[in-house]
Protein backbone atom coordinates (compact mmCIF):
# COMPACT_ATOMS: atom_id res chain seq x y z
CA UNK A 1 0.00 0.00 0.00
CA UNK A 2 2.84 2.36 0.94
CA UNK A 3 4.61 1.57 -2.32
CA UNK A 4 1.45 2.31 -4.34
CA UNK A 5 1.10 5.67 -2.56
CA UNK A 6 4.75 6.57 -3.15
CA UNK A 7 4.48 5.39 -6.76
CA UNK A 8 1.44 7.65 -7.23
CA UNK A 9 3.32 10.57 -5.64
CA UNK A 10 6.27 9.95 -7.94
CA UNK A 11 4.02 9.90 -11.03
CA UNK A 12 2.28 13.12 -9.98
CA UNK A 13 5.64 14.82 -9.44
CA UNK A 14 6.78 13.67 -12.91
CA UNK A 15 3.59 14.86 -14.59
CA UNK A 16 3.51 18.23 -12.86
CA UNK A 17 7.20 19.09 -12.87
CA UNK A 18 8.03 22.59 -13.94
CA UNK A 19 11.51 22.19 -15.36
CA UNK A 20 10.79 19.55 -17.97
CA UNK A 21 13.71 17.99 -19.88
CA UNK A 22 13.20 20.08 -23.00
CA UNK A 23 16.67 19.59 -24.38
CA UNK A 24 16.30 15.81 -24.16
CA UNK A 25 12.86 15.98 -25.80
CA UNK A 26 14.25 17.94 -28.70
CA UNK A 27 17.22 15.61 -29.08
CA UNK A 28 14.95 12.57 -28.92
CA UNK A 29 12.42 13.84 -31.48
CA UNK A 30 15.05 15.16 -33.85
CA UNK A 31 17.11 11.99 -33.69
CA UNK A 32 13.97 10.09 -34.76
CA UNK A 33 13.58 12.53 -37.66
CA UNK A 34 17.23 12.10 -38.71
CA UNK A 35 16.78 8.33 -38.57
CA UNK A 36 13.69 8.55 -40.79
CA UNK A 37 15.43 10.90 -43.19
CA UNK A 38 18.39 8.54 -43.56
CA UNK A 39 16.05 5.58 -44.00
CA UNK A 40 14.21 7.33 -46.83
CA UNK A 41 17.46 8.11 -48.63
CA UNK A 42 18.58 4.48 -48.51
CA UNK A 43 15.10 3.17 -49.32
CA UNK A 44 14.63 5.34 -52.38
CA UNK A 45 16.40 3.08 -54.92
CA UNK A 46 14.26 0.10 -53.87
CA UNK A 47 10.92 1.89 -53.54
CA UNK A 48 10.13 1.87 -57.25
CA UNK A 49 10.40 -1.91 -57.29
CA UNK A 50 8.28 -2.28 -54.17
CA UNK A 51 5.53 -0.20 -55.77
CA UNK A 52 5.81 -2.00 -59.10
CA UNK A 53 5.97 -5.61 -57.88
CA UNK A 54 4.23 -5.56 -54.50
CA UNK A 55 1.64 -2.79 -54.80
CA UNK A 56 -0.47 -1.84 -51.80
CA UNK A 57 -4.19 -2.20 -52.39
CA UNK A 58 -6.34 0.25 -50.46
CA UNK A 59 -9.79 -1.24 -50.11
CA UNK A 60 -11.86 1.09 -47.97
CA UNK A 61 -12.53 4.83 -47.89
CA UNK A 62 -10.98 4.91 -44.45
CA UNK A 63 -7.76 3.42 -45.85
CA UNK A 64 -7.76 5.94 -48.68
CA UNK A 65 -7.80 8.75 -46.10
CA UNK A 66 -5.42 7.15 -43.62
CA UNK A 67 -2.91 6.19 -46.30
CA UNK A 68 -3.36 9.17 -48.61
CA UNK A 69 0.44 9.61 -48.87
CA UNK A 70 0.62 6.09 -50.38
CA UNK A 71 -1.70 7.16 -53.18
CA UNK A 72 0.65 10.05 -53.83
CA UNK A 73 3.66 7.69 -53.81
CA UNK A 74 1.95 5.39 -56.31
CA UNK A 75 1.23 8.27 -58.65
CA UNK A 76 4.38 10.37 -58.16
CA UNK A 77 7.01 8.70 -56.02
CA UNK A 78 9.54 11.51 -56.32
CA UNK A 79 7.02 14.13 -55.20
CA UNK A 80 6.09 11.97 -52.22
CA UNK A 81 9.73 11.51 -51.19
CA UNK A 82 10.57 15.16 -51.71
CA UNK A 83 7.62 16.20 -49.61
CA UNK A 84 8.62 13.99 -46.67
CA UNK A 85 12.20 15.14 -46.87
CA UNK A 86 11.19 18.81 -46.91
CA UNK A 87 8.90 18.34 -43.89
CA UNK A 88 11.66 16.52 -41.99
CA UNK A 89 14.22 19.20 -42.84
CA UNK A 90 11.85 21.93 -41.65
CA UNK A 91 11.20 19.95 -38.46
CA UNK A 92 14.93 19.65 -37.86
CA UNK A 93 15.50 23.38 -38.05
CA UNK A 94 12.50 24.62 -36.11
CA UNK A 95 11.37 23.79 -32.58
CA UNK A 96 9.54 20.51 -32.15
CA UNK A 97 5.88 21.33 -32.67
CA UNK A 98 2.50 19.66 -33.12
CA UNK A 99 2.18 20.29 -36.87
CA UNK A 100 5.49 18.91 -38.12
CA UNK A 101 5.40 16.03 -35.59
CA UNK A 102 1.94 14.96 -36.76
CA UNK A 103 2.86 15.25 -40.44
CA UNK A 104 6.06 13.27 -39.97
CA UNK A 105 4.19 10.52 -38.15
CA UNK A 106 1.57 10.35 -40.92
CA UNK A 107 4.20 10.10 -43.63
CA UNK A 108 6.26 7.55 -41.71
CA UNK A 109 3.21 5.41 -40.96
CA UNK A 110 2.22 5.43 -44.64
CA UNK A 111 5.78 4.72 -45.73
CA UNK A 112 5.90 1.69 -43.43
CA UNK A 113 2.67 0.38 -44.98
CA UNK A 114 4.08 0.95 -48.45
CA UNK A 115 7.33 -0.84 -47.61
CA UNK A 116 5.78 -3.58 -45.52
CA UNK A 117 7.72 -6.33 -47.36
CA UNK A 118 10.97 -4.73 -46.16
CA UNK A 119 9.75 -3.77 -42.71
CA UNK A 120 11.02 -5.12 -39.44
CA UNK A 121 10.62 -4.25 -35.77
CA UNK A 122 12.38 -0.92 -36.24
CA UNK A 123 9.44 0.45 -38.25
CA UNK A 124 6.98 -0.45 -35.52
CA UNK A 125 9.17 1.09 -32.82
CA UNK A 126 9.81 4.22 -34.89
CA UNK A 127 6.13 4.80 -35.63
CA UNK A 128 5.15 4.24 -32.04
CA UNK A 129 7.63 6.84 -30.78
CA UNK A 130 6.80 9.26 -33.60
CA UNK A 131 3.14 9.05 -32.66
CA UNK A 132 3.73 9.69 -28.96
CA UNK A 133 6.19 12.46 -29.77
CA UNK A 134 3.34 14.50 -31.31
CA UNK A 135 2.25 15.12 -27.73
CA UNK A 136 5.78 15.69 -26.49
CA UNK A 137 5.96 19.05 -28.17
CA UNK A 138 4.86 22.12 -26.27
CA UNK A 139 4.74 24.38 -29.34
CA UNK A 140 2.84 26.35 -30.38
CA UNK A 141 2.13 27.47 -26.83
CA UNK A 142 -1.51 27.36 -25.85
CA UNK A 143 -3.24 30.28 -24.05
CA UNK A 144 -2.18 30.83 -20.42
CA UNK A 145 -5.22 28.97 -19.06
CA UNK A 146 -4.28 25.82 -20.96
CA UNK A 147 -0.51 26.10 -20.61
CA UNK A 148 -0.47 24.02 -17.46
CA UNK A 149 -2.42 21.20 -19.16
CA UNK A 150 -0.09 21.37 -22.15
CA UNK A 151 2.90 20.84 -19.86
CA UNK A 152 1.23 17.92 -18.08
CA UNK A 153 0.41 16.23 -21.40
CA UNK A 154 3.96 16.76 -22.60
CA UNK A 155 5.33 15.20 -19.40
CA UNK A 156 2.86 12.35 -19.79
CA UNK A 157 4.06 11.69 -23.35
CA UNK A 158 7.67 11.53 -22.15
CA UNK A 159 6.73 9.08 -19.42
CA UNK A 160 4.70 7.04 -21.91
CA UNK A 161 7.69 6.78 -24.26
CA UNK A 162 9.79 5.49 -21.35
CA UNK A 163 7.06 3.02 -20.43
CA UNK A 164 6.76 1.78 -24.01
CA UNK A 165 10.50 1.11 -24.24
CA UNK A 166 10.32 -0.87 -21.02
CA UNK A 167 7.32 -2.85 -22.31
CA UNK A 168 9.16 -3.71 -25.54
CA UNK A 169 11.93 -5.35 -23.49
CA UNK A 170 9.49 -7.04 -21.14
CA UNK A 171 7.52 -8.55 -24.03
CA UNK A 172 10.64 -9.81 -25.79
CA UNK A 173 12.23 -11.09 -22.59
CA UNK A 174 9.09 -12.88 -21.46
CA UNK A 175 8.56 -14.48 -24.86
CA UNK A 176 12.14 -15.79 -24.81
CA UNK A 177 11.78 -17.06 -21.26
CA UNK A 178 8.72 -19.07 -22.33
CA UNK A 179 10.53 -20.48 -25.38
CA UNK A 180 12.25 -23.85 -24.98
CA UNK A 181 14.62 -23.01 -27.81
CA UNK A 182 15.80 -19.86 -26.04
CA UNK A 183 16.16 -21.57 -22.67
CA UNK A 184 18.31 -24.32 -24.16
CA UNK A 185 20.39 -22.00 -26.33
CA UNK A 186 19.05 -23.64 -29.49
CA UNK A 187 17.69 -20.24 -30.58
CA UNK A 188 21.21 -18.79 -30.77
CA UNK A 189 22.24 -21.82 -32.84
CA UNK A 190 19.29 -21.10 -35.18
CA UNK A 191 20.29 -17.43 -35.47
CA UNK A 192 23.86 -18.34 -36.38
CA UNK A 193 22.40 -20.44 -39.21
CA UNK A 194 20.24 -17.69 -40.69
CA UNK A 195 21.94 -17.15 -44.01
CA UNK A 196 20.83 -13.57 -44.44
CA UNK A 197 21.18 -12.39 -40.89
CA UNK A 198 24.26 -13.74 -39.24
CA UNK A 199 27.49 -12.10 -40.20
CA UNK A 200 30.10 -14.52 -41.59
CA UNK A 201 32.90 -12.28 -40.28
CA UNK A 202 31.96 -13.44 -36.84
CA UNK A 203 31.07 -17.02 -37.73
CA UNK A 204 32.60 -19.19 -35.05
CA UNK A 205 31.86 -22.69 -33.92
CA UNK A 206 30.42 -22.74 -30.43
CA UNK A 207 29.29 -25.57 -28.23
CA UNK A 208 25.85 -26.02 -26.71
CA UNK A 209 26.85 -24.58 -23.32
CA UNK A 210 28.09 -21.34 -24.87
CA UNK A 211 24.88 -21.04 -26.91
CA UNK A 212 22.92 -21.45 -23.68
CA UNK A 213 25.03 -18.87 -21.84
CA UNK A 214 24.48 -16.30 -24.64
CA UNK A 215 20.74 -17.04 -24.75
CA UNK A 216 20.37 -16.65 -20.98
CA UNK A 217 22.41 -13.46 -21.03
CA UNK A 218 19.92 -12.03 -23.57
CA UNK A 219 16.91 -13.22 -21.56
CA UNK A 220 18.26 -11.80 -18.30
CA UNK A 221 19.15 -8.49 -19.92
CA UNK A 222 15.70 -8.09 -21.50
CA UNK A 223 13.93 -8.99 -18.29
CA UNK A 224 16.10 -6.91 -15.98
CA UNK A 225 16.04 -3.76 -18.14
CA UNK A 226 12.37 -2.94 -17.36
CA UNK A 227 13.10 -3.10 -13.65
CA UNK A 228 16.62 -1.74 -13.22
CA UNK A 229 16.25 1.25 -15.54
CA UNK A 230 14.06 3.04 -12.98
CA UNK A 231 16.82 3.03 -10.34
CA UNK A 232 19.42 5.77 -10.80
CA UNK A 233 22.10 3.48 -9.41
CA UNK A 234 21.67 0.91 -12.21
CA UNK A 235 20.58 3.22 -15.01
CA UNK A 236 23.96 3.97 -16.58
CA UNK A 237 25.29 0.37 -16.36
CA UNK A 238 22.09 -1.08 -17.90
CA UNK A 239 22.16 1.53 -20.68
CA UNK A 240 25.79 0.64 -21.45
CA UNK A 241 24.95 -3.08 -21.54
CA UNK A 242 21.96 -2.30 -23.77
CA UNK A 243 24.11 -0.20 -26.07
CA UNK A 244 26.59 -3.08 -26.47
CA UNK A 245 23.73 -5.53 -26.97
CA UNK A 246 22.24 -3.48 -29.80
CA UNK A 247 25.64 -2.85 -31.36
CA UNK A 248 25.90 -6.64 -31.44
CA UNK A 249 22.56 -6.79 -33.29
CA UNK A 250 23.82 -4.19 -35.78
CA UNK A 251 27.05 -6.03 -36.60
CA UNK A 252 26.33 -9.70 -35.95
CA UNK A 253 22.79 -9.84 -37.28
CA UNK A 254 22.90 -7.16 -39.97
CA UNK A 255 19.92 -5.33 -38.55
CA UNK A 256 21.25 -1.78 -38.39
CA UNK A 257 17.84 -0.09 -38.45
CA UNK A 258 16.55 -2.06 -35.49
CA UNK A 259 19.76 -1.66 -33.47
CA UNK A 260 19.94 2.08 -34.14
CA UNK A 261 16.33 2.86 -33.25
CA UNK A 262 16.68 0.98 -29.97
CA UNK A 263 19.90 2.83 -29.13
CA UNK A 264 18.24 6.16 -29.98
CA UNK A 265 15.40 5.37 -27.62
CA UNK A 266 17.92 5.32 -24.75
CA UNK A 267 17.86 9.13 -24.91
CA UNK A 268 14.61 8.74 -22.97
CA UNK A 269 16.56 7.53 -19.98
CA UNK A 270 19.56 9.86 -19.96
CA UNK A 271 19.59 11.02 -16.34
CA UNK A 272 17.61 14.23 -16.07
CA UNK A 273 19.91 15.91 -13.54
CA UNK A 274 22.78 15.55 -15.95
CA UNK A 275 20.81 17.47 -18.52
CA UNK A 276 20.37 20.27 -16.00
CA UNK A 277 24.14 20.32 -15.49
CA UNK A 278 24.72 20.46 -19.25
CA UNK A 279 22.22 23.30 -19.55
CA UNK A 280 23.67 25.26 -16.66
CA UNK A 281 27.23 24.87 -17.90
CA UNK A 282 26.36 26.09 -21.40
Amino acid sequence: MISITSYRKYLISVLQRENSPELLRNVFCKSLYVFLFAKIIFLEPVLKEVIAYLPVELNSTWHHILYAPIKLAQVALNVFLLLIQIVILIALFVRVNYFTSALIFWFSFSLSRLTQPLANGSDQVLNLFLFISIFLSAKPSLPATLKESQKIISNFAWLLCQLQLVLIYLLSGYDKLMSKAWRSGDAIYSITNLETYSNPWFAITLNKSIFAVIAWWVILFELSFPLLIWFSRFRIPILIIGFLFHMGIIFFLNLPDFGIIMILSYILFIPYQRENKILSSS
Binding site: R8, I12, V46, Q124, L128, S190, P256
Partner: protein
Protein backbone atom coordinates in the same frame (compact mmCIF):
# COMPACT_ATOMS: atom_id res chain seq x y z
CA UNK B 1 -8.03 21.68 -13.74
CA UNK B 2 -4.43 20.64 -13.09
CA UNK B 3 -5.44 18.09 -10.48
CA UNK B 4 -8.27 16.70 -12.60
CA UNK B 5 -6.07 16.27 -15.66
CA UNK B 6 -3.33 14.62 -13.59
CA UNK B 7 -5.86 12.18 -12.15
CA UNK B 8 -7.27 11.33 -15.60
CA UNK B 9 -3.77 10.77 -16.96
CA UNK B 10 -2.78 8.60 -14.00
CA UNK B 11 -5.91 6.55 -14.58
CA UNK B 12 -5.15 6.17 -18.28
CA UNK B 13 -1.54 5.28 -17.54
CA UNK B 14 -2.59 2.63 -15.02
CA UNK B 15 -5.13 1.17 -17.44
CA UNK B 16 -2.59 1.12 -20.25
CA UNK B 17 -0.08 -0.57 -17.95
CA UNK B 18 -2.62 -3.20 -16.93
CA UNK B 19 -3.73 -3.92 -20.50
CA UNK B 20 -0.12 -4.10 -21.67
CA UNK B 21 0.82 -6.57 -18.94
CA UNK B 22 -2.28 -8.65 -19.73
CA UNK B 23 -1.39 -8.82 -23.43
CA UNK B 24 2.30 -9.49 -22.73
CA UNK B 25 1.65 -12.40 -20.37
CA UNK B 26 -1.37 -13.36 -22.51
CA UNK B 27 -3.03 -15.88 -20.17
CA UNK B 28 -5.15 -18.51 -21.98
CA UNK B 29 -8.29 -17.20 -20.26
CA UNK B 30 -7.95 -13.92 -22.16
CA UNK B 31 -10.30 -14.04 -25.16
CA UNK B 32 -9.10 -12.65 -28.52
CA UNK B 33 -10.38 -9.12 -29.01
CA UNK B 34 -9.94 -6.07 -31.21
CA UNK B 35 -8.21 -4.30 -28.33
CA UNK B 36 -5.69 -7.14 -28.02
CA UNK B 37 -4.98 -7.01 -31.75
CA UNK B 38 -4.59 -3.23 -31.63
CA UNK B 39 -2.17 -3.48 -28.74
CA UNK B 40 -0.14 -6.24 -30.37
CA UNK B 41 0.09 -4.47 -33.73
CA UNK B 42 0.63 -0.86 -32.69
CA UNK B 43 1.40 -0.46 -29.00
CA UNK B 44 3.53 -3.47 -28.14
CA UNK B 45 6.17 -3.91 -30.84
CA UNK B 46 7.66 -7.38 -30.71
CA UNK B 47 8.41 -9.89 -29.46
CA UNK B 48 11.58 -9.93 -31.52
CA UNK B 49 13.59 -13.00 -32.54
CA UNK B 50 10.75 -15.36 -31.75
CA UNK B 51 11.36 -19.09 -32.17
CA UNK B 52 9.19 -19.37 -35.27
CA UNK B 53 11.07 -16.59 -37.05
CA UNK B 54 14.62 -17.74 -36.44
CA UNK B 55 14.37 -21.48 -37.02
CA UNK B 56 13.84 -21.32 -40.77
CA UNK B 57 16.14 -19.75 -43.27
CA UNK B 58 15.44 -19.48 -46.98
CA UNK B 59 17.64 -18.82 -49.96
CA UNK B 60 17.18 -18.56 -53.70
CA UNK B 61 19.58 -19.59 -56.44
CA UNK B 62 18.93 -18.24 -59.90
CA UNK B 63 20.44 -19.36 -63.19
CA UNK B 64 19.47 -18.86 -66.80
CA UNK B 65 20.03 -20.66 -70.06
CA UNK B 66 21.83 -18.84 -72.80
CA UNK B 67 23.11 -20.34 -76.06
CA UNK B 68 22.07 -23.79 -74.84
CA UNK B 69 24.10 -23.51 -71.66
CA UNK B 70 22.96 -23.00 -68.09
CA UNK B 71 24.91 -20.20 -66.41
CA UNK B 72 26.34 -20.70 -62.90
CA UNK B 73 23.65 -19.99 -60.27
CA UNK B 74 23.63 -16.78 -58.27
CA UNK B 75 22.19 -16.27 -54.80
CA UNK B 76 20.80 -12.76 -55.26
CA UNK B 77 19.73 -12.09 -51.71
CA UNK B 78 23.07 -13.28 -50.36
CA UNK B 79 24.92 -11.14 -52.90
CA UNK B 80 23.03 -8.11 -51.68
CA UNK B 81 23.95 -8.93 -48.09
CA UNK B 82 27.57 -9.35 -49.07
CA UNK B 83 27.49 -5.97 -50.83
CA UNK B 84 26.01 -4.42 -47.70
CA UNK B 85 28.77 -5.88 -45.57
CA UNK B 86 31.38 -4.62 -48.02
CA UNK B 87 30.23 -0.97 -48.00
CA UNK B 88 27.57 -0.68 -45.26
CA UNK B 89 25.07 0.79 -47.69
CA UNK B 90 21.63 -0.16 -46.29
CA UNK B 91 20.07 -0.01 -49.77
CA UNK B 92 21.52 -3.48 -50.41
CA UNK B 93 19.95 -4.64 -47.20
CA UNK B 94 16.54 -3.33 -48.25
CA UNK B 95 16.87 -4.96 -51.66
CA UNK B 96 17.83 -8.21 -50.04
CA UNK B 97 14.76 -8.02 -47.77
CA UNK B 98 12.55 -7.33 -50.78
CA UNK B 99 13.84 -10.39 -52.63
CA UNK B 100 13.60 -12.45 -49.50
CA UNK B 101 9.89 -11.53 -49.24
CA UNK B 102 9.24 -12.86 -52.75
CA UNK B 103 10.44 -16.37 -52.06
CA UNK B 104 9.57 -16.68 -48.37
CA UNK B 105 5.92 -16.29 -49.40
CA UNK B 106 6.25 -19.13 -51.87
CA UNK B 107 8.05 -21.42 -49.43
CA UNK B 108 5.69 -20.86 -46.55
CA UNK B 109 3.52 -23.69 -45.36
CA UNK B 110 0.97 -25.08 -45.77
CA UNK B 111 0.60 -24.69 -49.51
CA UNK B 112 -2.76 -26.39 -49.45
CA UNK B 113 -4.42 -23.54 -47.58
CA UNK B 114 -3.35 -21.06 -50.19
CA UNK B 115 -5.59 -20.54 -53.17
CA UNK B 116 -4.03 -21.74 -56.41
CA UNK B 117 -4.68 -18.39 -58.03
CA UNK B 118 -2.93 -16.48 -55.26
CA UNK B 119 0.07 -18.78 -55.29
CA UNK B 120 0.39 -18.53 -59.06
CA UNK B 121 0.36 -14.73 -58.69
CA UNK B 122 3.18 -14.85 -56.14
CA UNK B 123 5.28 -17.11 -58.35
CA UNK B 124 4.67 -14.85 -61.34
CA UNK B 125 5.74 -11.79 -59.31
CA UNK B 126 8.98 -13.53 -58.38
CA UNK B 127 9.65 -14.64 -61.95
CA UNK B 128 8.91 -11.18 -63.31
CA UNK B 129 11.14 -9.46 -60.76
CA UNK B 130 14.09 -11.78 -61.33
CA UNK B 131 13.64 -11.67 -65.05
CA UNK B 132 13.57 -7.85 -65.12
CA UNK B 133 16.38 -7.36 -62.62
CA UNK B 134 18.97 -10.07 -63.20
CA UNK B 135 18.35 -12.17 -66.30
CA UNK B 136 19.85 -10.96 -69.62
CA UNK B 137 17.39 -10.44 -72.47
CA UNK B 138 19.12 -13.09 -74.59
CA UNK B 139 18.36 -15.84 -72.06
CA UNK B 140 15.66 -18.27 -73.17
CA UNK B 141 14.85 -19.94 -69.84
CA UNK B 142 15.43 -19.39 -66.18
CA UNK B 143 15.78 -21.82 -63.32
CA UNK B 144 15.03 -21.00 -59.70
CA UNK B 145 16.08 -23.24 -56.86
CA UNK B 146 14.68 -22.26 -53.48
CA UNK B 147 16.25 -23.81 -50.42
CA UNK B 148 14.64 -23.92 -47.03
CA UNK B 149 16.87 -24.86 -44.12
CA UNK B 150 15.59 -25.53 -40.65
CA UNK B 151 18.07 -25.13 -37.80
CA UNK B 152 16.52 -26.72 -34.76
CA UNK B 153 17.71 -28.92 -31.89
CA UNK B 154 21.29 -28.10 -32.90
CA UNK B 155 20.77 -29.75 -36.29
CA UNK B 156 20.13 -28.34 -39.76
CA UNK B 157 17.62 -29.93 -42.15
CA UNK B 158 17.46 -28.80 -45.76
CA UNK B 159 14.63 -28.95 -48.29
CA UNK B 160 14.51 -27.54 -51.80
CA UNK B 161 12.11 -26.57 -54.55
CA UNK B 162 13.06 -26.13 -58.20
CA UNK B 163 11.17 -24.22 -60.90
CA UNK B 164 12.04 -23.79 -64.55
CA UNK B 165 10.43 -21.12 -66.72
CA UNK B 166 10.55 -20.61 -70.44
CA UNK B 167 10.77 -17.00 -71.61
Amino acid sequence: MKQRLTTIILLLLSLHGLFSLAFIFDPPVLPPSRLATFYKVYLLPGPFFTESRIIESQSLHLSWKMKDQWQPPINTSKENYDNYRACFNPTYLFRSRLEHTFYVRILREPYASLEKKERAKEIEQLRQYLSDTYVPKEADSLRIVMIKSRAQNFKVKVDSLQMIFAR
